[in-house]
Homo-oligomer: 477 residues x 2
């Protein structure tokens, strides 16, 4: 490549128009170049990858993209530029004048004075082909290259914007951000199958654990956030969580991101649900307004019709039904379910789908689940004979469960009883301590970040909204 590069440098210096002296060119991102509406010939330098080439008799049109936006910058060059080395996928540096484009397709274009190929691209070997719209399944085989397509470029820019929007939402609401730990010795919360962590075989000590105790990858930052909610009234975390589940579903990953919040002095699910709905709607609106082209690509080519479905979700109030009502709705349904809906049994995917549809494809909160179905830390509603806890799940169209949350059992004696029932008293002394010293009513929730992106964008498979998906039998790169 070095050779090509030097050669081209020499080549170009002969064939290009002379550069006016004392007018150094400033480096511009494609986004900034496209945004300069009063382009009037300023000399700029743009760097990126060739996304299209069209050679006419006298003129060569290139489109160069650098990832700063979906749209590429049109480069107009003299046909004397050798388009042979300017292949799709190659990286280039273009020096020229930014001018108003005569075409209606774009506001500005770059009149090239010098085009340097920085890195060649062997079009035959390159798995991404010029002018082809590759299916997302095909691209999944190439996790190291798929970000170079329009689709993944847009999704990853949106993911970045959504990440920022979520951080902003919480910061603006006065939440303190906490890095809850990834490696944890809490092994019995029951949120799912665990991954265990040990030093790799090379240095494994035969008869002891590195941490003295068995250590696992976190399934949730909740218990650690609860520690913090004994000092800060509003805390959140946004990080990776893990499940060692043997699943190849379009909604599950072994490694995925969760946004979790915990709020002190909260005494009703209503207050929690307000924050959940606010988080979803505020950040979705921010993403829509900050990445209109990227979102449009998804809503046009990946999930046609999804724009309307999303707007319907955003403009309506989310609904609230109790678990008991949900079971009644399911039992009265004319549909035949594979799993018969019954009080005291978990809702299945088919049930969730039916409920969302029944509610007019508006997200629906299901609250107050049977105590027996839920983990020890959820707050007892003391509402026998149908004994429930103050739990809440948010079901959304197309994705199913997006949020899960609850009020936490802040009452020492109730919690102690629950822990004893689960045989966890000894392991959770520290958790009981939180209730011995200035306990407060509190609650919180977790939102699956990839499912949130699926819900906003209409992307069917969770593997397409995360840069490097990890699941059973697959850990590429």
């Amino acid at each position: 490549m070095l050779l090509t590069r030097c050669l081209l440098r020499a080549l170009r210096s002969c064939s290009t128009a002379p550069c006016p002296r004392h007018r150094p060119s400033s480096r511009l991102s494609v986004r900034d170049a496209l945004g300069s509406h009063n382009a009037s010939g300023e000399r700029v330098k743009v760097q990126g990858w060739v996304r299209s080439i069209r050679s006419q008799k006298e003129v060569l049109f290139l489109h160069v993209n650098d990832g700063s936006s979906l749209e590429s910058l049109q480069i107009v060059a003299d046909s004397s530029f050798d388009s042979g080395v300017l292949t799709f996928g190659s990286s280039v540096e273009v020096l020229g004048q930014l001018i108003k484009s005569p075409s209606k397709r774009q506001n500005v274009e770059l009149k090239a004075e010098k085009i340097e190929v920085i890195g060649n691209c062997d079009a035959k070997a390159f798995p991404i082909k010029y002018k082809e719209r590759h299916p997302l399944e095909y691209l999944r085989q190439y996790p190291h290259l798929r970000c170079r397509t329009n689709a993944l470029g847009s999704i990853l820019r949106i993911r970045s914007e959504a990440t920022a929007a979520i951080h902003s939402f919480f910061k603006n609401s006065g939440f303190v951000h906490i890095h809850t730990p990834i490696i944890t010795s809490n092994d019995c919360e029951g949120a799912g199958e665990l991954f265990q962590v040990e030093p790799s075989s090379k240095i494994k000590l035969p008869e002891e654990n590195f941490f003295n105790v068995p250590a696992f990858l976190t399934v949730s930052g909740q218990l650690h956030l609860e520690v913090m909610s004994g000092a800060f009234t509003q805390v959140f975390t946004f990080g990776p969580t893990f499940r060692a589940e043997n699943s190849q579903s379009r909604r599950h990953l072994a490694e995925f991101y969760m946004v979790e919040a915990e709020i002190s002095f909260v005494e009703s699910l209503q207050d929690l649900m307000q924050v959940m709905e606010g988080l979803f709607k505020t950040t979705a609106m921010t993403v829509l307004s900050n990445c209109p082209e990227d979102v449009e690509l998804c809503h046009k080519f990946i999930a046609p019709g999804h724009k309307d479905r999303l707007e319907h979700m955003l403009k309506n109030n989310f609904l609230i039904i109790s678990y008991t009502e949900a079971i009644e709705i399911l039992q009265q349904a004319s549909q035949n379910f594979t799993f018969t809906p019954e009080w005291g049994v978990d809702l299945q995917t088919e049930h969730e789908k039916y409920l969302v549809k029944h509610c007019g494809n508006v997200p629906v909160f299901v609250i107050n689940y049977p105590l027996a179905l839920k983990p020890f830390y959820m707050r007892d509603n003391e509402d026998g004979p149908q004994h429930t806890v103050a739990a809440v799940d948010l079901l959304v169209p197309g994705v199913g469960e997006l949020f899960g949350g609850s009020l936490r059992e802040e009452r020492y004696h109730y919690l102690k009883k629950q822990l004893a029932r689960s045989g966890l008293t000894e392991a959770y002394q520290w958790y009981l301590d939180l209730r011995r010293f200035g306990s407060v009513p509190h609650g919180g929730f977790g939102m699956g970040f990839e499912r949130y992106l699926q819900c906003i964008l209409g992307v069917d498979n969770i593997k397409d909204v995360i840069p490097f998906p990890r699941f059973t039998h697959s850990c590429l790169l």
Copy 2:
């Protein structure tokens, strides 16, 4: 606790002043209460934890903190409030009028109409004692309670602000945020000892790996960021990284956070160093300006004198020396080192300390390290006979290495040779691919986030700047 609470509710409704009708009280955070400079008797509700109690003949003074700021809100109550249940550490809800304080110590105070104890605190059993300034080492024993002290409260608020500042710095500079994976099959990068990941014993499949290949916890997101820098010209990640090293040092953790950035079309270390220095200075200034009281606590009580040391770092340009110059400086030093400084051998902590001191306690970039000391991906300087690569480390006072970075070897044939030399050709075909298809000169760096906080705050032990420290023999909670 429930009992106490009901009792108090009844109790208070007798003893408090009558509440004016139709004037509902709004809930206010302590921070917002303290910030209302024109307090003129508006009725508000404040919730938090009791940080001090002073009972006089006719008046009871409380200080209530809710984690929204270091400063607590002074509550002034009738001495008829039973101060017996109002113990240090208990949680309370106070209803009253926000008024201008007659004392010069605070602007506002809350004249209590009703004080409700929400959760008692058994002062005898509570490891945090009233009016005691506990050493950080002592608090480390109580990871579930130490956030309730002033010191940890301040550090965690600062950590949260610094996290936001770092995200903002990159967003404002046009970087795309990427979640690089935590679990990875790259096992041979050589950045340190690895943790291996397997499903916990309960469901371990006897003769195969969950991911089909051995999987490890990431030591760096760099290689995955490099994938992205083939499509986006500026990317960053900010997440947990891991080392299975048997270290109990004050600068090492088994789980710590790294800020990593990768920039395309960068051809000189100078450009990288500019971003590194900008990141450090810009975000440090933001933290200083957004958390003045919290930073002051650290600079006053935890690390006296550190304020001046930090200002010295912020107002001076960082220095640049080559590795070769560094060795010469060390060899000419009058100091006796345990490890004799020698060209071709790694710098030791004692060397780093000396260099920083030699440079007047200003952060110093050390560049161009021997090729033989560095991993395969660093760019060959082709400068024999002393063969170096374009690597850079930033050494800072008190902490040592804070950043590490390099230009990456973007030339296909050079990289291929390096991989062959390390026996990694097969495992890194995907990484070679990045150089086959539109390769560009690029470089990046990583900054240890906990060390960054140590450097800004002067906190000596890394275990005190992370909510839940993980290291050999310790994984509490």
